[in-house]
Each structure stands twice: as structure tokens, then as C-alpha cells.
């Protein structure tokens, strides 16, 4: 761990962290503002939803969410929050070390007297710090929105905390996998397409998995590992699947260290 690199990374990531934090904050607060209206018309809403095919509802994660309850509605929003979190963490993962190569600054950094392991650790810690900041904003925003807009309806605090904790673990998966993929390909020219691809790809997999419930796609996608519907119904994580996600994240990061230490930094020209 090198504090110079850490500070440099944090500074260069600051703007992005702010933008993503603001995005999830607005998403939660503005969306949850509609809760009263939805809840009051819950019967109508549920009638309408029943007209949709079950597969369709499953695709949007609505099959096990009751939009008339505080957490049911929050869980529905949280799927979109997850999408944001996935893209943010994916971007950070893909860009973590590849950005030095695509912006041709790897020569500068890696000819300094620091080991590759220290470079990667400093960058990881900085990226995780950024993600934690976004999560903090999400926590505060969620509590404020729910307190402000829930009206008379009650909810289980422990379940909400479980959902919020899942957000961070969920990001670790995308950070780790993004980082690993960025080191497996020869050169990442632009981070965003990769980040979007991984985030949306996993989301679509999860939606499909909802539509064909007999297909075991859920093993692949963290959107299923951290399904808010499951957490709300069971008031607990789906332990094996969460372990799977966390395991993939840890293995990806460990492999990334190994690959990065052996990597040939491509020459500029």
C-alpha cells in the first residue's frame, strides 16, 4: 500500500464517485416519493399487474414483491439501484489498472520504486473507498426517503439493513470480475462499454432467469445472488448464493494480483 498512489487515485475518482452517489440518491428519493400514491392504490395496482404474464412480472422482479409494503416498494427500486451500483463497480474494476495503460501513464507509474502488488493494493483501496462513499450516501438517502415518505406503514429495519449491506457485497463482485477481465484481455481501450456490458449483461441474465425459473441462470448473476425479493421474504440472505458471489470476488481479485505481477506492460507505440 502506497499512500501517494492512494491519494492520487482518490482524487482522480472523486468526481465519478460524486456523480454515482448523486444518481443513486436521486433514484431512491425521487422514486420512493411515489410510494404513498402506489400504496393507496395498491389493489388497483395489483389488479393491473396480474394482467401481465407471470414471466413478464418475474423479469422485472415483481413476482415476489408487494408494492403496497414499504420494503416491497423499496426492493423494487433497489433493483435499479443495483444496476447503477453494478455499472459503477464494473467501471472501477475495468479501469483500475487498465486506465494507466490506455492513457499511457503505466510507464510513469511502474518505473517508480513500488511493487505491482503495492500499486494494485493502493488502487483497490482507493476504489473501494469510493464505493463505500457511494454506499454511505445510499444508506443515508434510503433512511431519509423511507422515513419521509412511508406514512403510517411499518417496516422491518433489520431487513432494510440487510438489503443495504447487500449493495456493497454486490459491488465487490463487479469490481473483482471487472478487474480480472481487464487483465485477461490484451488492452482495454475504453472502460465504459465493458462496465455497461457487464452490468446490463448480468441484469438481463437475471431477468431471463426470472422468466424461465427452471433454468439455473441464477447461479451466474449477482442480481439473483442478492435478489431483494428473496431478502424481504426470508428476512435473510440466500447464504449459498451470497457466498458464491463473495467467493467469485475474492478469487477474481487474487487472480488479478497474480496476473498483474506477471503482466507485460505494452509499449506506447
Amino acid at each position: 500500500m502506497n499512500t501517494n498512489i492512494f491519494r492520487h487515485e482518490l482524487r482522480s475518482r472523486f468526481k465519478s464517485v460524486m456523480v454515482w452517489s448523486l444518481a443513486v440518491l436521486l433514484l431512491v428519493v425521487l422514486f420512493f416519493g411515489f410510494f404513498q400514491g402506489f400504496a393507496d392504490e395498491a389493489d388497483l395496482m395489483n389488479q393491473m399487474l396480474e394482467k401481465f404474464p407471470r414471466e413478464m412480472r418475474a423479469a422485472f422482479g415483481l413476482d415476489n414483491l408487494d408494492l403496497a409494503s414499504v420494503l416491497g416498494f423499496y426492493g423494487f427500486i433497489f433493483i435499479f439501484v443495483q444496476l447503477c451500483l453494478a455499472i459503477q463497480a464494473g467501471n472501477y474494476g475495468f479501469g483500475l489498472v487498465s486506465i494507466e495503460e490506455s492513457e499511457l501513464t503505466a510507464d510513469f507509474l511502474l518505473t517508480k520504486p513500488v511493487s505491482r502488488t503495492a500499486v494494485m493494493t493502493s488502487k483497490l483501496v482507493a476504489a473501494v473507498t469510493g464505493l463505500i462513499l457511494t454506499n454511505l450516501v445510499l444508506w443515508v438517502g434510503s433512511f431519509l426517503a423511507i422515513t419521509g415518505f412511508r406514512g403510517e406503514r411499518e417496516y422491518e429495519l433489520k431487513t432494510l439493513i440487510l438489503i443495504l449491506v447487500s449493495g456493497f457485497l454486490f459491488q465487490m463482485f463487479f469490481l473483482g470480475v471487472g478487474l480480472l477481465i481487464s487483465l485477461l484481455v490484451k488492452r482495454v481501450r475504453s472502460v465504459t462499454p465493458y462496465g455497461l456490458g457487464l452490468g446490463f449483461g448480468m441484469y438481463v441474465l437475471s431477468a431471463f432467469s426470472g422468466m424461465f425459473s427452471d433454468v439455473k441462470l441464477e447461479i451466474l448473476t449477482p442480481f439473483k445472488h442478492f435478489d431483494p425479493g428473496y431478502i424481504i421474504q426470508n428476512n435473510a440472505f440466500d447464504a449459498p448464493l451470497v457466498m458464491l458471489s463473495v467467493g467469485v470476488a475474492i478469487i477474481s481479485i487474487a487472480l488479478s494480483y497474480w496476473l498483474y505481477n506477471r503482466r507485460d506492460v505494452p509499449a506506447v507505440s
Partner: protein, 290 residues
């Protein structure tokens, strides 16, 4: 102990060649010229010594430390000026230099201002606003800032105007006078000739020759030019003669060996003009590439 000790170093990028079986030593305090055309493997060698890439086989030691396993320790005492300079575009020059210096123990503020003044570098400009030549200056200051014991210069003069080149060469000479070892890679022979004590010539990934720059020029080859009527190239087909070229009434060739043999030949002729001179490095160099 040599500062750089390279033994049978080989690097393949997949199937394509980087360098093959390269061996050489660089001693403390010398300016070692490393010349070869583009693609010969100059940058590959430097990148191997900086642990930016990993050797396929062979070994390299810098300061008697292994480049594969002890890279960070080696790099404490190294300054590197890459052929293409790229830095964090959003940063100001001064912030970049501070960031660079922060990796080394000590305070380099004074030196930073000294070097920037010599190189006429404005510290408050943004990297993204700099011209190529100015970025190169940032690279020079950045490479020298922490007073390294060993400097790697990879085609350092590209993009610098002649005045700046001279200042830069003076800086390098000053550093060298303080005992700094310099590894100077270039394809421009004139500058190597001006600066270096020894040169290694690399071609197609292999070391073609390592020699003292004087002995390369003096002891090996003479450039002979004879002007006379009715010249016949066959006349000079004697051992030691190479590169015979006839162009409008004059005969040019390189000669290595006892110069009396040539003088005897010329003595038997009626010539208009004769010159015998030391070839420039450029010409020696061309010779290695034929």
C-alpha cells in the same frame, strides 16, 4: 561489479521477436550508447531492465539486483525518460512533478525549480496544454528530479529543438560528471557520438557489436576516397576492403587492416585526389546493417 549486467537476455512477445540472446555490461560512471534502427529491440531491452516486461529467458541485474524479483529496489535509484512521454492529462506540471518526487525519500523542491529553469519549463501549465516538446521537458525534469544513480534515456532528443538538445546534453554531462551512469538509446548516431564513451549496436534483436567509441572509429575502419581517371573497382579487390562504390570519377570504400596495402595500390596510380579519413559512426553503422 557492473551497474548493468545482462546475460543471454531473450524476450519474445508470443511468437514475435523482441531481443535474442543479448549480453552486455555497463560499468559505473560511463555513458553507454545503445544504437540500432527502430524495431531492433532497444526499447525492449530498456523495458526489461525496468521490469515493465518480463524476460522469456536469460537474466539481467542492475546494481547487482535481479530485475525480475528486485524491481522496486532497483527503481529507487533509476531515472527513466521514455521515448514517448505521456502523463496524467488533467494534472498541472508542478503537481505531476511533485507526485513523481513523492515516491522517493527527500525534498526535491529546489532541484525541481533548478531543472525547470534550465529546461525553460513552465510549472503552472496543464499537461494537456503542453506541446510535444514541452512534454518531453517534463519527462527530462521528472527523470532527473530525484538524483538517480542510473539514467535510462530512450530516444531522448526527439521533439526537442537544437538549443534544448544542447542544454539537455549539458545536463547529462553534468550528471555524468557527478558519477551518474547513463544508458543512452538512440538511432541518431551523431548524438551518441557526441556523448557516449562506449556503444552497443543492436540489430534485429541481437547485439552486433559492443565497442569503445574511439576504437570503433579509429582502429577498425578507414574511409578511403580516390579520384582518378579510368578507375576500376577491381583494382582494389584486396582483403580488408568493403563497400566499394564508384560514383562519377571517384571510388569510395572502407578499409580495415594495414593501410600500407592501400597506399601501395594508390602509389602505382596517377590520382587527382585522395582522402583517407575516419568514418562517421553513421557510416560504420550502415556497414553493420548490410
Amino acid at each position: 561489479m557492473s551497474i548493468i549486467d545482462v546475460t543471454n537476455l531473450t524476450k519474445y512477445y508470443g511468437k514475435s521477436r523482441g531481443i535474442v540472446d543479448v549480453s552486455f555490461q555497463v560499468e559505473e560512471g560511463e555513458i553507454f550508447g545503445f544504437i540500432g534502427p527502430n524495431g531492433a529491440g532497444k526499447s525492449t531491452t530498456i523495458r526489461l531492465l525496468l521490469s515493465l516486461i518480463h524476460p522469456t529467458s536469460g537474466s539481467a541485474r542492475v546494481f547487482d539486483l535481479d530485475v525480475v524479483t528486485q524491481g522496486p529496489e532497483i527503481r529507487r535509484n533509476i531515472g527513466y525518460l521514455p521515448s514517448e512521454v505521456y502523463y496524467y492529462e488533467g494534472m498541472k506540471v508542478i503537481d505531476l512533478l511533485r507526485y513523481s518526487a513523492s515516491f522517493f525519500p527527500g525534498d526535491f523542491t529546489k532541484r525541481m525549480h533548478e531543472l525547470s529553469e534550465i529546461m525553460e519549463l513552465e510549472l503552472n501549465r496543464r499537461i494537456s496544454d503542453l506541446s510535444y516538446g514541452n512534454k518531453k521537458k517534463v519527462g527530462i525534469v521528472q527523470g532527473l528530479l530525484h538524483s538517480p544513480r542510473l539514467l535510462f534515456l530512450d530516444e531522448p532528443t526527439a521533439g526537442l529543438d537544437p538549443l534544448m538538445q544542447r542544454k539537455f546534453f549539458n545536463l547529462i554531462r553534468e550528471e555524468n560528471a557527478r558519477g551518474v551512469t547513463v544508458f543512452f538509446s538512440s538511432h541518431i548516431l551523431g548524438e551518441v557520438q557526441r556523448l557516449c564513451t562506449r556503444v552497443g549496436i543492436i540489430r534485429e534483436g541481437r547485439m552486433a557489436e559492443i565497442s569503445d567509441i574511439r576504437s570503433l572509429q579509429q582502429n577498425n575502419y578507414k574511409k578511403v576516397r580516390v579520384m582518378a581517371e579510368g578507375l576500376d573497382a577491381d583494382l582494389f579487390q584486396i582483403p580488408g576492403v568493403t563497400n566499394i562504390q564508384v560514383e562519377d570519377g571517384s571510388l569510395n570504400f572502407f578499409f580495415k587492416g594495414d593501410i600500407n596495402l592501400v597506399l601501395q595500390k594508390i602509389g602505382g596510380m596517377r590520382v587527382e585526389d585522395v582522402t583517407i579519413e575516419e568514418p562517421t559512426l553513421e557510416e560504420i553503422f550502415m556497414h553493420y546493417y548490410e
